[in-house]
């Protein structure tokens, strides 16, 4: 198959062998599980349990209310201790709501779980998508976007190609490699289910050429007669080939339009871990409650891959990898390029946790003093989105948010190539994140201001209407007064008016102090 290339990128040392030497280790049930309500892109799930409740393994304990969201299931049986804010793996370092579960040790499955479907070929796409949503599956390559949404392309978008992203291009991470080596049949079964769901004609399964064992395992697991439809493709190891848009470019030569989605090209892209989770949900009726995590880096003694329950603290993972090496001073969730540093190893494994990287000062030395940009253009050379990172840096610094968008800020995938090659040690990606957040914040402010203006205009309109009505009423009254009314009627009307005034006075006297009217007068 003819492969294409994208602009820029870097050939980085892989550091995969460190963690692939040891067999996959299933971790036991930890002492306590912290299961965050927001492990995905979208609104946080809403708890279905309360402190003190007993829950069974696989039971849904939090519910996605929005279309873009994912349910959360109990990773094991036990008692809900509390639902409270705890540290979670998030770049902000802020705490977030977690269901804290104390396992009872029985690891007992719920009997009201999902029914295994061996007849999935007879199910229609809607049913299968519902199952994916019921199982709480999100993209397991790290982005954690709800999979049921991704498998539901907008009407009119016909999907002809399923791309399986087994690139795993970031250094150190080997969880997909491990998955493909250990469960090639399950991954391929997931491929078939999703291809059936999408009614896709062909599957392009890409694996970077630094994972020959995984490629071999998949080749052996794939029957001859399927190889036309499901094509295993070995692709060059260039960071960031694993970016969805970059991978599609490599495989097809097509570029996903800037503001569009792969579905616009008739393509859906999935990670092998996600496909295995889909298969487990459909064929075995298992929700997503565990995942493979690479625990690696020179900061742990015996790097390896573990299969951990969602909610397992990072500290347990480090212990499973032989404990911390002396001098460890950095803990990163994700890879060295796009991962973010974690402040506390009490944070739990979530659905998007692919790797835990621990390093010592000598592995990630401080980059030296920040120097001025010398406009060397190395960042431009390596940018996989073909941007001008250096110009964008000046615009971000000058808070020139119009120009920076004009230069393609939102086409930046934050891969970090520019920051890595910058001789001046400028944390370029941070500048772009800053600019994006400022722009989003301003957008929000603008929406607020628009809303306020609408309210104000509505109020003015209402007041004008009231004025008009009042004038009309007065006019009617005047007209009525000018008409001579029968005497008795008039007297009765005066009496009634006097009664009303007295009643009003009494009411006012009883309700002291009189509150001033709300100045905003909504």
């Amino acid at each position: 198959m003819h492969l294409h290339r994208f602009h820029g990128g870097l050939e980085l040392p892989g550091h995969k062998a460190e963690s692939t030497g040891q067999p996959l280790l299933p971790l036991g049930i930890p002492h306590r599980l912290h299961v965050p309500l927001a492990q995905h892109i979208g609104a946080p799930a809403v708890p279905l349990c309360a402190p003190g409740d007993s829950v069974l393994k696989g039971q849904r304990i939090a519910q996605a209310e929005d279309y873009i969201g994912a349910h959360v299931h109990a990773p094991t049986s036990g008692r809900v201790v509390e639902i409270a804010e705890h540290p979670v793996p998030h770049p902000s370092g802020l705490n977030a709501l977690c269901i804290v579960l104390e396992p009872d040790g029985h690891d007992q499955w719920t009997d009201q779980g999902l029914e295994p479907w061996t007849d999935w070929r007879q199910r229609d796409p809607r049913e299968l998508r519902e199952r994916v949503r019921d199982a709480g599956i999100v993209g397991m390559g790290g982005a954690a976007f709800p999979t049921s949404v991704k498998l539901n392309p907008r009407p009119g978008k016909r999907i002809h190609t399923l791309v399986v992203n087994g690139a795993e291009c970031e250094p150190y991470i080997s969880c997909d490699d491990t998955l493909m080596r250990h469960y090639p049949e399950a991954v391929l079964e997931g491929v078939r289910i999703v291809a059936h769901l999408l009614d896709a004609e062909r599957v392009l399964f890409a694996v970077e050429d630094n994972k020959p064992a995984a490629f071999q395992a998949l080749t052996q697991a794939l029957p001859e007669d399927e190889r036309d439809r499901i094509r295993l493709i070995s692709i060059p190891s260039v960071y960031p080939t694993g970016g969805e848009r970059q991978l599609i470019r490599v495989l097809t030569g097509l570029e996903v339009p800037s503001s569009g989605l792969p579905a616009d090209l008739g393509i859906v892209c999935q990670n092998p871990g996600t496909l295995k989770a889909v298969r487990d949900a459909v064929v075995r009726g298992r929700p997503l409650i565990s995942r493979i995590v690479t625990v690696t880096g020179p900061g742990v003694r015996e790097p390896r891959n573990v299969e951990a329950l969602i909610g397992t603290p990072f500290a347990d993972l480090a212990t499973a990898a032989g404990g911390y090496a002396p001098g460890v001073d950095r803990l990163v969730m994700g890879g060295p390029m796009m991962g973010f540093a974690i402040a506390d190893d009490a944070v739990p494994v979530i659905k998007g946790t692919n790797c835990l990287l621990a390093t010592r000062p000598q592995d990630t030395p401080s980059p030296g003093p920040l120097m001025p940009c010398i406009r060397c253009g190395e960042c431009t050379r390596v940018c996989p989105a073909n941007l001008l990172p250096q110009q964008m840096y000046w615009f971000a610094k000058a808070r020139n948010f119009d120009s920076i968008q004009d230069y393609g800020l939102f086409d930046c995938i934050e891969c970090g190539c520019c920051a890595l090659v910058c001789p001046s040690n400028i944390p370029l990606v941070q500048y772009y994140r800053f600019a994006k957040n400022e722009i989003w914040a301003r957008e929000k402010d603008r929406q607020k201001a628009d809303l306020a203006r609408e309210r104000f205009e509505y109020r003015k309109l209402r007041q004008e209407q009231e004025e008009a009505e009042k004038a009309a009423r007065l006019a009617r009254k005047k007209a009525a007064l000018e008409k001579p009314a029968p005497a008795g009627e008039k007297k009765a009307a005066i009496e009634a008016a006097l009664d009303r005034a007295r009643a009003k006075k009494a009411a006012q006297a009883s309700e002291t102090p009189i509150e001033s009217p709300d100045p905003s007068d909504r």
Binding site: P257, S258, Y324, R330, P336, C376, P384, L388, Q390
Partner: protein, 348 residues
């Protein structure tokens, strides 16, 4: 257990500004040694003095601006500017020419505009042009090329004495030790109505230009190719500058070989090679987009030819570089690459 948090990427940093600058310095060594061999100790004396002056002015300016002096000096950018400036100055020029030029390069062209990374003009060329227009006599006296082994070449001490006092040792005359450069000869000859053939019949001409200049150029070319190989510079500027210079020269040469010098003469004379690889590639003052760099280099090549052929100076690289520095931001603006996933290159 708690950990400090730092920003990505979490890897060993690969490059540094100082590292980049030092690689350029290493690449200058062979060409500088060749120049010394052919033009005498004055080359080394000039380079040394210019580096000392540059470091001194840099330290002074950084201290005045209340920035860390040692950190800034260690980026080696001032040393590089001083060195490049010195290579443009005749080897027997008095020290104060260097002092004035380096002062303008470092103090005015670099620090008054905000220091490293902020100077719109190439500092070394600003310094050179200032002394070129201010001290034409001192700048035009190039020694005749001869190897250091020649019996009548000046020794290191004699050279130092000339540099510091401006006076020649007894019994040595300026006319005896200096000679017009090939570019001067070509220019003066053509102005006087000679043909290119007649001019190049002069015994100082080698295969393309003068032997000493040719060898110096070859070794600077070697250093430049090494920089390309090390990816310190990209191919765009040197290739497009030399190609444009050769193409334009070739065009006129084909039309009238009697009145216009050959492309090879232009490429291997004067500052073309060192300018293409070491001066025009100064990233701070050059264009930065790939296409912008190609146009930037082409502009320098074209202007160099125009100034050499019809202008008032025998060589034009310095003026061409400064003129193109002026348009570099505009080139960058109009040569933005097409962004991934966009159909045109105008909007992000």
């Amino acid at each position: 257990m708690r950990f400090p948090t730092r920003t990505s990427p979490h890897v060993v940093p690969g490059h540094s500004v100082g590292g980049v600058m030092r690689q350029v310095l290493y690449a200058l060594v062979p060409g500088t040694l060749a120049m010394t061999w052919f033009f005498g100790w004055g080359v080394l004396v000039n380079v040394t003095l210019a580096i000392l002056f540059a470091a001194g002015f840099e330290a002074l300016m950084v201290a005045l601006r209340r920035r860390p002096v040692l950190d800034t000096l260690s980026d080696s950018s001032a040393i590089l500017a001083g060195w490049l400036f010195a290579l443009a100055i005749p080897p027997l020029a008095p020290f104060w020419v260097l002092l004035v030029g380096v002062m303008f390069a470092i103090v005015v062209a670099k620090h008054l505009y905000g220091g490293l990374g902020y100077n719109p003009f190439n500092p070394a060329m600003v310094g050179y042009v200032v002394v070129l227009v201010s001290f034409p006599r001192e700048i035009s006296l190039w020694p005749a090329p001869q190897s250091l082994l020649d019996s009548n070449s000046l020794g290191l001490l004699q050279t130092l004495q000339i540099s510091l006092t401006g006076r020649l040792p007894d019994g040595v005359e300026w006319d005896a030790i200096t000679r017009a450069s090939p570019l001067d000869l070509m220019r003066d000859g053509l102005v006087a109505g000679q043909t290119v053939d007649e001019i190049t019949r002069n015994p100082i001409f080698g295969s393309f230009s003068e032997t000493g200049w040719e060898w110096t150029g070859n070794l600077f070319l070697l250093g430049g190719l090494w920089l390309l190989y090390r990816r310190v510079i990209s191919w765009h500027i040197p290739v497009s500058m030399l190609l444009t210079l050769a193409t334009v020269a070739g065009l006129f040469w084909v039309i009238d070989p009697g009145q216009f010098a050959s492309p090879a003469f232009h490429v291997f004379s004067g500052a073309a090679i060192i300018g293409a690889f070491f001066i025009a590639t100064d990233p701070v003052s050059a264009a930065t987009t790939p296409l912008g760099r190609v146009l930037f280099g082409a502009g320098i090549g074209l202007l160099t030819y125009v100034i050499r052929t019809w202008g008032g100076y025998p060589d034009g690289v310095a003026f061409a570089v400064l003129l193109m520095n002026m348009v570099a931001p505009t080139l960058d603006h109009y040569t933005r690459p097409r962004i991934f996933g966009h159909s045109d290159n105008r909007h992000g």
